[in-house]
Amino acid sequence: MTTDVITRPARTPVGGGPPPGQARRPALDALDRLESEAIHILRDVAGHAARPALLYSGGKDSAVLLHIARKAFWPAPVPFPLLHVDTGHNFPDVIAYRDAQAAAIGADLLVARVEDSIARGTVRLARATDSRNAAQAVTLLEAIEEHGFDALFGGARRDEEKSRAKERIVSHRDSFGQWNPKAQRPELWNLYNARVQPGEHVRVFPLSNWTERDVWSYIAREAIPLPAIYFAHPRAVVRRGGLLVPVTDLTPPLPGETVETLSVRFRTVGDITCTCPVASTATDLAAIIDETDLADVSERGATRLDDQASEAAMERRKREGYF
């Protein structure tokens, strides 16, 4: 029997006080640990991949990711380009922010346009005003092929949505960009496997373990600037399907709908045709964090027109290469 007894790791209970001779160890709080984990992932994959890139939309999650990438590689600059898959249906504020942030750190910003995929005929939409959100996958895969990217960092979090909750930190995509959720690679401890065959790539999610609240708290702690639409502002909206839909040229009110001007903010930012704000009076980060603590609808549930259609919508899109 003796050979079969598995001895357990020696462990130090938290709160048991520091070991002798190691008094006054700096304590890491939850955000320190999340940040450090993200840095570790960024450094690990960047060291392995031949041609990585960071998906950067100007949204809050990618703002956090870019901020951490700067910390990870400092004093060297971020050693890979930023890639934005641009639907052409943007909030102008966000695009201005995107360009300013990339310029401020001297990053190489690549913009892949759904517009160009439409011109090439690889994306076909029934109507010009249709949501281009799903079409982003096509444009993204075209950009990956064009630039030969083998690792793409993204700011997605597991707490966003049920199929994301299933995804590895380093997630393999085949040469068609497809995710096979039923055959994911095992991922042990913090040993990531970013190896790919030619034409394949990995999606890498350094913020996997962050919650929406962590993101807001970190933005406040690090004083990360954000596009103004994340803070409460008056906006013309209509009420549709339990959501507040912003009134824009692309999303006009439907017959019978009443346009109201409400104080709103965005919890997440994406294609203008499918991203909805929430009613809010939070004009600063502290107020946003308070509202986040009280929220009883999830980030996606409160803000996304497209995901409501089907439980499996996101998984299907992800399998096809969406991020």
Binding site: I6, T12, V14, F73, P181, R185, P186, L188, V297
Partner: protein
């Protein structure tokens, strides 16, 4: 390491055989602890009507079974991670699959957890030996160093019988002891009805112990890395004003300016001249911190090297516990890629010491092959000296993975037992 009063973080994983109720339990914990949003609860009412469903109509397993195939087949295929907090603690929960075919996903989930909650189905296990998957999961969780909590589930289906509970509790305790472990707690519950998970509903008058939530809120969150010797794998090298900055995360121990360090595998020595970060220099960095170290001497240190406290054990051959995770069985003679810390080297399994017979509890059998889900002890030889820290001493670096160079699949997880 959080010594202050900030709520601590506990990462736990549920384990047990198919249909023991793992997904239901997590749904129940989240629902009762108010960890679900309104739109998420609505989706549990079969996803059809748009009104708030009654609690009895909720299919709580749907909280985590997030893949289409999982909802169709009614089983969990891969790990789902959920995040929630009570006033006393924040939790990262991993819902792992019970099916044997997906054991590797349980191993994935357990590798980053502090605690395992092993479920035993009272209805189907009463009067019988524990199921093989229960044994396998408890074995794997213990190998990975997790604290074991046992939840005897579906007590509603056995009329909250005290004798059924006591019989299963004693079998679970016996299994743990055979592995060299002692369960931290054994709790009778009904995940479906919500008895004794977060709330007590009085069905269990004979049971005076804690609820499962009481256990989870108080079980020590163990810090694997705090006390070990310094280990910092070098992930990158940056140059600034002629100085070389070695970038990595302190995986174990701590490092101070002025400390002596050894570079592995070259065994050159130096001292720490500075600890740098984007946010400014530090005097000390502890396990869990990502930093950049500057050494006093101009040594040739590269990505994949390790900065360690003097006395770091290195070896070309090690004996290790191994879980085979790949559908492709081990190909004798093949060189696999071994990833440990930031280093990747070539390694070959020289000999199988034994393969564990999971059904027969702890006896091992000789074997000449390794296939999916085998738990074995092997002798392994590497092209470069490996860091020979025992997994039980320094778990942050005593573990490694083997990657099949042909398919790039992660083929095995290993835990170093000794230098050989």
């Amino acid at each position: 390491m959080t010594v202050g009063s900030a709520p601590s973080l506990l990462r736990f994983v549920t384990a047990g055989s198919v249909d023991d109720g793992k997904s239901t339990l997590i749904g129940r914990l989240l629902y009762d602890a108010k960890g679900l949003m309104r739109d998420q609860v609505r989706a549990l009412g079969q996803g059809r009507n748009r009104t708030e469903p009654d609690e009895g109509d909720l299919d709580l397993a749907l909280v985590t079974d997030g893949l289409e195939a999982e909802r169709e087949q009614g089983i969990t295929i891969d790990v789902a991670y959920r995040y929630f907090a009570t006033p006393n603690r924040s939790f990262i929960i991993a819902d792992a699959p019970g099916h044997e075919q997906y054991t590797r996903n349980l191993v994935t989930a357990a590798s980053t957890a502090d605690v395992v909650v092993v479920l035993v189905d009272a209805a189907r296990t009463q009067g019988k030996p524990l199921k093989i998957q229960t044994r396998r999961h408890m074995t794997l969780a213990h190998m990975l160093g997790l604290t074991i909590v046992v939840a005897v589930n579906k007590m509603d289906a056995v009329g909250w019988s005290k004798s059924v509970f006591e019989d299963l509790a004693s079998k679970a305790r016996h299994l743990a002891r055979a592995l060299g472990a002692e369960p931290h707690a054994i709790v009778p519950i009904s995940a479906k009805a919500g008895d004794n998970v977060v709330e007590r509903r009085g069905t269990d008058a004979w049971y005076a112990g804690p609820t499962l939530m009481d256990v989870l809120e108080t079980v020590p969150a163990l810090d694997l890395a705090a006390r070990g010797p310094l280990r910092m794998p070098v992930q990158r090298v940056a140059v600034q004003d002629g100085r070389r900055l070695y970038q990595g995360r302190v995986e174990s121990g701590l490092v101070r300016v002025g400390d002596p360090v050894v570079v592995a595998p070259s065994r050159r020595t130096s001292t720490v001249a500075a600890i740098e970060t984007f946010d400014g220099p530090l005097g000390v960095a502890v396990a869990g911190q990502s930093v950049s170290l500057v050494l006093a001497d101009d040594l040739d240190v590269a990505r994949g090297d390790l900065l360690a406290a003097p006395g770091v054990p290195l070896a070309h051959a090690v004996v290790a516990d191994l879980c085979w995770l790949d559908e492709t069985p081990w190909r004798p003679g093949t060189k696999y890629l071994l990833k440990q810390g930031a280093a990747t080297s070539q390694a070959r399994i020289d000999a199988i010491v034994h393969v564990r017979d999971v059904a027969g509890l702890s006896e091992a059998r000789p074997a000449d092959g390794l296939s999916l889900n085998d738990i074995a002890q092997v002798r392994l030889k590497a092209g470069m000296p490996l860091l020979a820290d025992r997994f039980e001493d320094v778990p942050a670096v005593g573990g490694f993975v083997l990657i099949d160079p042909l398919t790039n699949q992660t083929a095995a997880a290993g835990m170093i037992q000794a230098a050989a």
